[in-house]
Protein backbone atom coordinates (compact mmCIF):
# COMPACT_ATOMS: atom_id res chain seq x y z
CA UNK A 1 0.00 0.00 0.00
CA UNK A 2 1.26 3.40 -0.94
CA UNK A 3 0.72 4.89 2.53
CA UNK A 4 3.07 2.37 4.04
CA UNK A 5 6.14 3.73 2.29
CA UNK A 6 5.95 7.26 3.67
CA UNK A 7 8.38 8.62 1.04
CA UNK A 8 11.10 11.12 1.95
CA UNK A 9 10.64 12.76 -1.44
CA UNK A 10 7.74 12.90 -3.88
CA UNK A 11 8.54 13.62 -7.52
CA UNK A 12 5.53 14.62 -9.57
CA UNK A 13 6.32 13.93 -13.24
CA UNK A 14 2.75 13.46 -14.39
CA UNK A 15 2.08 14.49 -18.02
CA UNK A 16 5.80 14.35 -18.85
CA UNK A 17 6.81 11.97 -21.63
CA UNK A 18 9.88 9.73 -21.83
CA UNK A 19 12.51 10.34 -20.55
CA UNK A 20 11.21 13.17 -18.35
CA UNK A 21 10.10 11.05 -15.38
CA UNK A 22 13.29 9.00 -15.43
CA UNK A 23 15.47 12.10 -15.65
CA UNK A 24 13.57 13.70 -12.78
CA UNK A 25 14.05 10.54 -10.72
CA UNK A 26 17.76 10.24 -11.49
CA UNK A 27 18.33 13.84 -10.44
CA UNK A 28 16.53 13.30 -7.13
CA UNK A 29 18.12 9.89 -6.46
CA UNK A 30 21.55 11.47 -6.80
CA UNK A 31 20.87 13.99 -4.06
CA UNK A 32 19.04 11.51 -1.81
CA UNK A 33 20.67 9.73 1.10
CA UNK A 34 21.12 5.98 1.25
CA UNK A 35 17.96 4.27 2.49
CA UNK A 36 15.67 7.16 1.61
CA UNK A 37 12.42 6.32 -0.16
CA UNK A 38 11.29 8.27 -3.21
CA UNK A 39 7.91 8.26 -4.87
CA UNK A 40 7.79 9.00 -8.59
CA UNK A 41 4.39 9.86 -10.00
CA UNK A 42 4.03 9.27 -13.73
CA UNK A 43 1.28 9.04 -16.31
CA UNK A 44 3.69 7.69 -18.92
CA UNK A 45 3.33 3.94 -19.38
CA UNK A 46 6.71 3.69 -21.11
CA UNK A 47 8.37 5.24 -18.08
CA UNK A 48 6.52 2.88 -15.78
CA UNK A 49 8.22 0.03 -17.62
CA UNK A 50 11.58 1.71 -18.22
CA UNK A 51 12.24 3.05 -14.72
CA UNK A 52 12.55 -0.49 -13.25
CA UNK A 53 15.14 -1.32 -15.94
CA UNK A 54 17.16 1.72 -14.92
CA UNK A 55 16.88 0.84 -11.23
CA UNK A 56 18.06 -2.67 -11.97
CA UNK A 57 21.20 -1.36 -13.63
CA UNK A 58 21.81 1.48 -11.18
CA UNK A 59 21.38 -0.86 -8.21
CA UNK A 60 18.56 0.90 -6.36
CA UNK A 61 15.61 -0.99 -5.06
CA UNK A 62 12.20 -0.97 -6.71
CA UNK A 63 9.78 -1.27 -3.80
CA UNK A 64 6.52 -1.29 -5.71
CA UNK A 65 4.66 0.12 -8.68
CA UNK A 66 1.19 1.16 -7.53
CA UNK A 67 -1.61 1.77 -10.02
CA UNK A 68 -3.36 4.91 -8.75
CA UNK A 69 -6.02 4.88 -11.45
CA UNK A 70 -4.96 7.80 -13.63
CA UNK A 71 -1.25 7.57 -12.84
CA UNK A 72 1.34 5.24 -11.35
CA UNK A 73 3.38 5.67 -8.21
CA UNK A 74 6.79 4.07 -8.40
CA UNK A 75 8.39 3.63 -4.98
CA UNK A 76 12.16 3.50 -4.94
CA UNK A 77 14.69 3.04 -2.17
CA UNK A 78 18.15 4.50 -2.72
CA UNK A 79 20.91 1.98 -2.12
Amino acid sequence: MSEDYNPDKVIDSREAACPGPLMDLIGQVKSAKSGEVLELKTTDEGSKNDVPDWLDKAGHELLEVVDQGDYWSIYVEKS
Partner: protein, 132 residues
Protein backbone atom coordinates in the same frame (compact mmCIF):
# COMPACT_ATOMS: atom_id res chain seq x y z
CA UNK B 1 31.79 0.00 -21.44
CA UNK B 2 33.46 3.33 -22.01
CA UNK B 3 30.41 5.08 -23.37
CA UNK B 4 29.32 6.38 -26.73
CA UNK B 5 30.53 8.93 -29.26
CA UNK B 6 27.63 10.18 -31.34
CA UNK B 7 28.09 11.93 -34.68
CA UNK B 8 25.01 14.07 -35.25
CA UNK B 9 24.86 15.03 -38.93
CA UNK B 10 21.09 15.22 -39.39
CA UNK B 11 18.83 18.25 -38.99
CA UNK B 12 15.69 16.15 -38.52
CA UNK B 13 14.08 16.82 -35.18
CA UNK B 14 13.07 13.23 -34.50
CA UNK B 15 16.65 12.06 -34.90
CA UNK B 16 18.20 14.70 -32.69
CA UNK B 17 15.44 14.09 -30.15
CA UNK B 18 16.29 10.38 -30.07
CA UNK B 19 19.98 11.24 -29.65
CA UNK B 20 19.06 13.59 -26.84
CA UNK B 21 16.91 11.04 -24.99
CA UNK B 22 19.48 8.25 -25.18
CA UNK B 23 22.38 10.57 -24.34
CA UNK B 24 20.59 12.16 -21.42
CA UNK B 25 19.67 8.92 -19.72
CA UNK B 26 23.13 7.48 -20.40
CA UNK B 27 24.98 10.49 -19.00
CA UNK B 28 22.72 10.63 -15.96
CA UNK B 29 23.63 6.96 -15.41
CA UNK B 30 27.36 7.84 -15.52
CA UNK B 31 27.87 6.46 -19.03
CA UNK B 32 30.14 8.98 -20.82
CA UNK B 33 28.73 10.60 -23.96
CA UNK B 34 30.51 12.75 -26.54
CA UNK B 35 28.25 14.34 -29.14
CA UNK B 36 29.91 15.71 -32.26
CA UNK B 37 27.59 18.02 -34.19
CA UNK B 38 28.51 18.33 -37.85
CA UNK B 39 27.06 19.16 -41.29
CA UNK B 40 23.25 19.64 -41.30
CA UNK B 41 23.20 18.69 -37.62
CA UNK B 42 23.91 22.31 -36.69
CA UNK B 43 20.66 23.79 -37.90
CA UNK B 44 18.43 22.64 -34.98
CA UNK B 45 20.90 24.31 -32.59
CA UNK B 46 20.56 27.77 -34.20
CA UNK B 47 19.01 30.24 -31.77
CA UNK B 48 16.47 31.47 -34.33
CA UNK B 49 15.39 27.95 -35.26
CA UNK B 50 14.87 26.98 -31.62
CA UNK B 51 13.01 30.20 -30.78
CA UNK B 52 10.62 29.76 -33.71
CA UNK B 53 10.43 25.96 -33.38
CA UNK B 54 11.26 25.98 -37.07
CA UNK B 55 12.51 22.39 -37.23
CA UNK B 56 12.71 19.99 -40.12
CA UNK B 57 11.47 16.47 -39.64
CA UNK B 58 9.17 13.63 -40.45
CA UNK B 59 6.10 12.07 -38.91
CA UNK B 60 7.42 11.69 -35.36
CA UNK B 61 8.72 15.26 -35.34
CA UNK B 62 5.32 16.56 -36.38
CA UNK B 63 3.57 14.48 -33.74
CA UNK B 64 6.00 15.84 -31.16
CA UNK B 65 5.42 19.46 -32.13
CA UNK B 66 1.64 19.04 -32.24
CA UNK B 67 1.35 17.01 -29.05
CA UNK B 68 -0.97 18.72 -26.61
CA UNK B 69 -1.70 16.12 -23.97
CA UNK B 70 1.89 15.08 -23.38
CA UNK B 71 4.75 17.31 -22.45
CA UNK B 72 7.76 16.36 -24.54
CA UNK B 73 10.76 18.39 -23.39
CA UNK B 74 12.73 19.73 -26.34
CA UNK B 75 16.20 18.27 -26.85
CA UNK B 76 17.74 21.59 -25.80
CA UNK B 77 16.20 21.34 -22.34
CA UNK B 78 17.00 17.64 -22.05
CA UNK B 79 20.64 18.10 -22.94
CA UNK B 80 21.00 21.07 -20.61
CA UNK B 81 19.58 19.02 -17.74
CA UNK B 82 21.72 16.00 -18.64
CA UNK B 83 24.91 18.06 -18.57
CA UNK B 84 24.26 18.88 -14.94
CA UNK B 85 23.70 15.21 -14.09
CA UNK B 86 26.54 13.37 -15.78
CA UNK B 87 29.43 13.13 -18.25
CA UNK B 88 28.06 14.63 -21.46
CA UNK B 89 29.99 16.89 -23.82
CA UNK B 90 28.80 18.50 -27.04
CA UNK B 91 31.37 19.49 -29.64
CA UNK B 92 30.89 21.68 -32.68
CA UNK B 93 32.56 20.66 -35.94
CA UNK B 94 34.89 23.51 -36.78
CA UNK B 95 34.97 22.76 -40.49
CA UNK B 96 31.17 22.98 -40.88
CA UNK B 97 31.04 26.24 -38.92
CA UNK B 98 33.65 27.77 -41.23
CA UNK B 99 31.84 26.41 -44.26
CA UNK B 100 28.48 27.88 -43.18
CA UNK B 101 29.98 31.10 -41.81
CA UNK B 102 28.60 30.46 -38.32
CA UNK B 103 29.86 31.62 -34.93
CA UNK B 104 29.27 30.06 -31.50
CA UNK B 105 26.94 32.99 -30.72
CA UNK B 106 24.57 31.81 -33.46
CA UNK B 107 23.79 28.67 -31.46
CA UNK B 108 22.02 27.92 -28.19
CA UNK B 109 24.38 27.70 -25.27
CA UNK B 110 24.98 23.95 -25.18
CA UNK B 111 28.36 23.51 -26.84
CA UNK B 112 31.51 22.82 -24.87
CA UNK B 113 33.66 24.03 -27.72
CA UNK B 114 34.82 23.51 -31.29
CA UNK B 115 36.56 20.38 -32.41
CA UNK B 116 38.24 19.16 -35.58
CA UNK B 117 38.12 15.62 -36.90
CA UNK B 118 41.28 14.56 -35.07
CA UNK B 119 39.90 15.90 -31.83
CA UNK B 120 36.73 13.95 -32.36
CA UNK B 121 38.62 10.76 -33.19
CA UNK B 122 40.59 11.17 -29.96
CA UNK B 123 37.39 11.63 -27.99
CA UNK B 124 35.87 8.59 -29.71
CA UNK B 125 38.90 6.34 -29.37
CA UNK B 126 37.61 4.23 -26.47
CA UNK B 127 33.92 4.53 -27.30
CA UNK B 128 31.30 2.97 -29.47
CA UNK B 129 30.49 5.31 -32.33
CA UNK B 130 26.92 6.02 -33.37
CA UNK B 131 26.32 7.94 -36.61
CA UNK B 132 23.04 9.79 -36.96
Amino acid sequence: MEGFAIVLASEELEKIQAVSIISSVAAASEIPIEIFVTMNGFRPFEKEVVENMDFEGGRAAKAMMEAEDVDVPLFTEQLEQAKTLGPLSIHACEMTMDLMGKEMDDFVDLFDGKLGVSGFLNAAEDKQVIFV
